[in-house]
Symmetry: C2
Subunit: 165 residues, 2 copies
């Protein structure tokens, strides 16, 4: 176990979790790729632990989320993504075209960073903010396509319709 794995092992024990190879593999993948989905995590973790099963990944991720080591985000129309960045209060930018996700720092800092104008009797503990748009790579690609063939509709980027918010 190298220095990084020792740190992770310590973090797992701190959270009351046992230190196992599947867990270290998943941590390694998550550290490499923030915002990975379960499938990506499985593929990556299998490079370190070839016999790893999909169910083990789901179990590990659930344990991480419960222990506060990882955070689960679920953009509409996409499988759940997982990230190690927890504890701070940040939001996400999601590309409508390729699904790329980027972090945005919250200007307020503490959760919930927003309060609804009228809570309709709800006790609100979290405000989840997702910014939908087009990432730089997809903008560039669109420009190239538009230059090559004039009559191109930008409409096709809509993963979903809906009013803005």
């Amino acid at each position: 176990m190298d220095a990084v794995e020792t740190t992770w092992a310590h973090q797992l024990r701190e959270a009351g979790l046992r230190v196992t190879r599947p867990r270290l593999s998943v941590l390694s993948v998550l550290a490499d790729r923030p915002h990975a989905d379960a499938g990506t995590i499985l593929t990556g973790a299998r490079e370190l632990h070839p016999s790893l099963s999909p169910q083990a990944v789901y179990g590990v991720l659930e344990a991480f989320v419960a222990a506060g080591i990882a955070r689960r985000i679920e953009p509409a129309g996409a499988p759940a993504l997982f990230e190690l960045r927890v504890g701070d209060n940040h939001h996400h930018l999601v590309c409508r075209s390729c699904g790329a996700v980027a972090d945005v720092d919250c200007v307020v800092g503490a959760a919930p960073c927003l309060a609804p104008s009228d809570a309709a009797g709800f006790v609100v503990d979290e405000a989840e903010v997702v910014f939908w748009g087009l990432c730089r790579a997809c903008q560039d690609r669109d420009r190239q396509v538009a230059d090559a063939a004039e009559p191109v509709q930008l409409e096709e980027h809509g993963i979903r319709g809906g009013a803005g918010a």
Copy 2:
């Protein structure tokens, strides 16, 4: 066809869609129940059109969303919900316990009503805000359970963990 259906028929034609019984049935259910999922819509619409197929409902809803008649919302961990309220700029309150959804007016009004502090090269066109919490009914039920048996953890309400936003 009654007066309400005539209005809907007009709205469908305005949007360039043909007027069909499945579409009128779905509109009727959506008018009755804002924030209904595809299954609920199917069940409701079958009261008016018994032979309606699930795929027809998906097709109708997709056509409505594309035409701007309906809006699709997808709270994390729940099937997609549909609502007729479009065009204005509002957000949603979601109950972690029972999944109930309520509308909240946006104080800003125009989309996107928020701008990320650093857009990381993204062109943002929409900010989606979901407030997570506990609805009044679930709060009441919890209080009753807590009164009946003292040592009750409120933890079990978490549909998902994760840091606040």
